[in-house]
């Protein structure tokens, strides 16, 4: 009658539900926001007067709405891409220690999100 305790160690709780929720939300953000945002930062912003642009961006990012919007977009984009790269490497047979790969990708996305939050708070 040791089956139940044994199966608990054989089938650990999956990280997939949380990882997939973040991946899914990030997929929406990447689809809806990133094309326009990349056009703005890559094509439009370099052609605008730097001084006025700086002051206007500062104003936007000193507001809580601006901070929260940027953090949402950047962190969900990070989780989305980390999830795809993690699974893509598996598809390419690039293998590493299971826990190490999870920590590297989902932990890395979390760490970079925290870094982004810290930078936003400092503005």
């Amino acid at each position: 009658m040791t089956h139940s305790s044994k199966s608990r160690t054989t089938y650990p709780r999956s990280h997939e539900p949380i990882a997939w929720s973040l991946f899914g939300a990030g997929g929406m953000v990447v689809a809806f926001v990133i094309p326009a945002l990349a056009l703005i930062t890559g094509l439009l912003m370099p052609s605008w007067p730097a001084e006025i642009l700086y002051l206007n961006l500062l104003g936007l990012l000193q507001s809580w709405v601006g901070k929260l919007a940027l953090l949402t977009v950047i962190s969900l984009t990070l989780y989305h891409t980390a999830h795809r790269i993690y699974h893509g490497l598996h598809d390419l047979h690039v293998e590493g220690p299971a826990v190490g790969m999870l920590l590297l990708f989902y932990g890395g996305a979390t760490l970079l999100s925290a870094l982004c939050a810290g930078v936003l708070l400092a503005i």
């Binding site: 089938y11 990133i34 370099p46 500062l58 989305h80």
Partner: protein
């Protein structure tokens, strides 16, 4: 290998552990046909988009350091390498959006009583949302960022 969930079933009372033959898969399996190559291309869109997220965080960091630092970052964005990255990011994000809106009707199943919202409507709603969001973002940036 007793903890291997693929090859042994802990709930089975059969004392014999089956070791079925697993066909080895070459790591270039995805080059073999068009659908696999497109799948890999879709997954690869994440690489430039991840790099872009880092560029954005770097930009926010430079902005937090003051105007001179931000102007440096802006000049970096005008460099050929960053221009190329941005083009790649736009292309990758558009390909992602196209494949993502193909998937959403399969995940987002809306029912009202006996009526199921057709896949095409869900897809078109997403394309409409895409046009509205992109238009709104670019217009807002145009109106509020370069002006006084």
């Amino acid at each position: 290998m007793s903890a291997d969930p693929v090859h042994s079933n802990p709930k089975s009372s059969n004392p014999i552990n089956r070791r079925p033959y697993v066909q080895p898969q070459p790591s270039n399996w995805w080059l073999k046909n068009r659908a696999y190559r497109f799948y890999m291309l879709r997954e690869a869109t994440s690489v430039p988009i991840f790099a872009y997220a880092l560029v954005l965080i770097w930009g926010l960091f430079r902005l937090s350091q003051g105007q001179a630092a931000f102007t440096d970052w802006l000049a970096l964005m005008a460099s050929p390498v960053m221009m190329l990255l941005h083009l790649l990011v736009v292309a990758a994000a558009l390909l992602h959006a196209y494949t993502w809106f193909d998937l959403t009707p399969k995940i987002l199943v809306l029912r009202f009583g006996d009526f199921r919202v057709p896949d095409l409507w869900v897809k078109l709603a997403h394309y409409g949302g895409f046009v509205l969001t992109s238009g709104a973002l670019i217009c807002l940036a145009y109106v509020f960022l370069p002006g006084v």
